[in-house]
Amino acid sequence: MRVFVTVGSTRFDPLIEASLSTAVLQALHSRGYTDITVQCGSSRGAGDLALPSEAGTASLMKDGVSVEAWRFKPSLQDEYERADLIISHAGSGTILDVLRMGKTLIVVPNPTLLDNHQAELAEALAARGHLYAAVISDLPRVIELMDGSKLVPFPQFDGSKFRALLDEEMGYI
């Protein structure tokens, strides 16, 4: 099984570092994950893995998990598709994309962001059972305890609500 870690266009060193740590890799290994792909954005190097330059890919074998890391791709849809578990920063676009694919998602809000409304979104969706929200130090425990089958399916995009709202506003209804 495959894990995909993404930080989007941001820089989120602690998440990259954590996802390549022995504690997290062992937790993943214990849950049957064999491959981890890390989209590291503008983050800096982490421990024993020198992150690739602009377009390169770095790979290594650690704690029984095959690790692959790169910085950006024009679209991450294929990566979400390929993965069984996604660990992500709390960007709302990523959250919507991943949940609508029906994938298990662990969201780690970036605590260094000044206006930390991302954590609010992660917690609100976690409270409704759509995803898991974790802080960095808690990540191994959340991986060990998570159960994707218990997550509440996220509703698909429903354009009728906004269509009705605007039709009403403009006098069509």
């Binding site: 676009g93 609010e120 906004f162 709202l165």
Partner: protein, 232 residues
């Protein structure tokens, strides 16, 4: 004596101005369209990144054979948003019946200079903000006046933040002050805002005609706030 006359004229002008401002601050009454087959011109501001994605998701929900012509307003240098507009328009025209697609006019993309660039010093903000405002006024107020067949900028303007939204709002209010046709302003707060409004949301809430949030926690803020669940 002369001073008194000047003072009276001045007071009169001040009174008229405040009356005018009071009038345009009253809620615009909505009227039902006499003919529901009549199209509605539509404009949307795309604030780049997540703002653009959410705004275009909202636009994708609309009936394109009803909302046209469509105007997409992007910030200078935001090529990514322009590309997303082209992708959306292309995919929408595929789903429309061929005879409708051919009669629906093309969309337009307008570029507005940024009110404030990222990392720009505060001291340098006023000139660029004024330049941005001038550009908004040109598109919203002046250009529609110069066209031979008088058509307003758009009947409705959809906003979801950030920055330049406010300048577009100000330009719209200039139209209202002058009694020119002006778009109805609809603001949709981001799906990412659960407990508190964004800065644009706080600034624009008193100015727009319809203020929409996507989380019930935000509905409590005022009676003017509209909540219909998640829209994106």
């Amino acid at each position: 004596m002369d001073y008194l006359i000047v003072l009276l004229i001045f007071l009169g002008i001040a009174l008229l101005l405040s009356l005018r401002i009071y009038c345009i601050s009253l809620p615009k009454t909505k009227s039902k369209r006499p003919d529901s087959s009549e199209p509605c011109s539509f404009a949307v501001f795309l604030g780049s990144g997540g703002h653009t994605s959410e705004a275009l998701t909202l636009v994708s929900a609309l009936d394109f054979s009803r909302y046209y012509p469509r105007t997409y307003i992007i910030s200078e240098g935001d090529g990514l948003s322009a590309q997303k507009v082209r992708d959306l328009e292309a995919s929408k025209s595929k789903t429309m019946k061929a005879h409708i697609a051919s009669t629906v006019p093309q969309y337009t993309l307008i570029t507005i200079p940024r009110a404030r660039r990222v990392h720009q010093s505060l001291l340098a903000t006023p000139p660029t903000a004024l330049y941005s405002l001038a550009s908004c006024i040109y598109h919203v107020t002046i250009l529609p006046l110069m066209q031979t067949r008088s058509s307003p900028f758009a009947e409705v303007l959809l906003l979801n933040g950030p920055g330049t939204c406010l300048t577009l709002c100000i330009a719209t209010y200039i139209n209202r002050f002058l009694g020119l046709p002006s778009p109805r302003l609809v603001y949709v707060e981001s799906f990412a805002r659960v407990q508190s409004l964004s800065l644009s949301g706080k600034l624009l809430r008193p100015l727009v005609d319809r203020f929409v949030v996507q989380w019930p926690e935000l509905r409590k803020l005022s009676t003017k706030t509209d909540y219909r669940g998640w829209l994106v």
